[in-house]
């Protein structure tokens, strides 16, 4: 799973039947310092996320588990909303 920022929405009328009613969001993956890494991706929303929010997404076939299995073709699903940037904490301790 990866942290990401929702940066936009995608409108698609003609799509796979099982994607009907799903919300498509553009997410930019970010690293532990909340800086962008890689290219933006399109994710299906499973938790009610919106533009501007800090979220985390899941990849692979597990991405379709929040929906009816086999039913939803996705490789990138938003599975959590981070409460705020302040809620991303990391320890500075060196082991």
């Amino acid at each position: 799973m990866q942290l990401a920022r929702v940066i936009g929405t995608v409108v698609s009328t003609v799509k796979n039947e099982s994607l009907r009613g799903r919300k498509l969001l553009v997410v930019q993956t970010i690293d532990k310092n909340l800086e962008s890494i890689g290219k933006p991706m399109v994710a299906i929303d499973a938790v009610g996320a919106g533009i501007g929010e800090l979220v985390f997404w899941c990849r692979g076939k597990e991405a379709s588990f929040p929906f009816k299995r086999e039913d939803t073709p996705t490789d990138c699903t938003i599975v959590g909303i981070v409460d705020s940037e302040q809620h991303v904490t990391r320890s500075e301790f060196k082991l």
Binding site: V10, K15, L24, V26, K39, M41, V42, K61, S64
Partner: protein
């Protein structure tokens, strides 16, 4: 899923029998702003996309296979699952 533009199609008379009748499209990944990136990929079509369309490509085997062929387990890893009308950015 990635955003891509359909830039062509591939004719392959001889291919895996699980997707004998599928259309294989040549796609170029784009950024949400619409600029082409250096990554191009072949994807099976499941929504009747055409050259020039902006599309959504799912890159996970099970989903791609189910979307494009109707059953899981076909040897594909990319399928076009939607035609994009519009991308709204912050």
């Amino acid at each position: 899923m990635i955003l891509a533009r359909v830039i062509g199609n591939i004719v392959a008379t001889q291919k895996n029998h699980r997707y004998q009748n599928a259309r294989v499209m040549l796609c170029q990944q784009i950024t949400p702003e619409g600029d082409e990136t250096s990554y191009s990929v072949l994807a099976l079509d499941s929504v009747d996309a055409g050259v020039g369309d902006t599309v959504l490509i799912v890159q996970e085997g099970w989903s791609a296979s189910t979307a494009a062929t109707g059953t899981a387990g076909a040897a594909i890893d990319s399928a076009i699952v939607g035609v994009v009308d519009r991308v709204d950015l912050l």
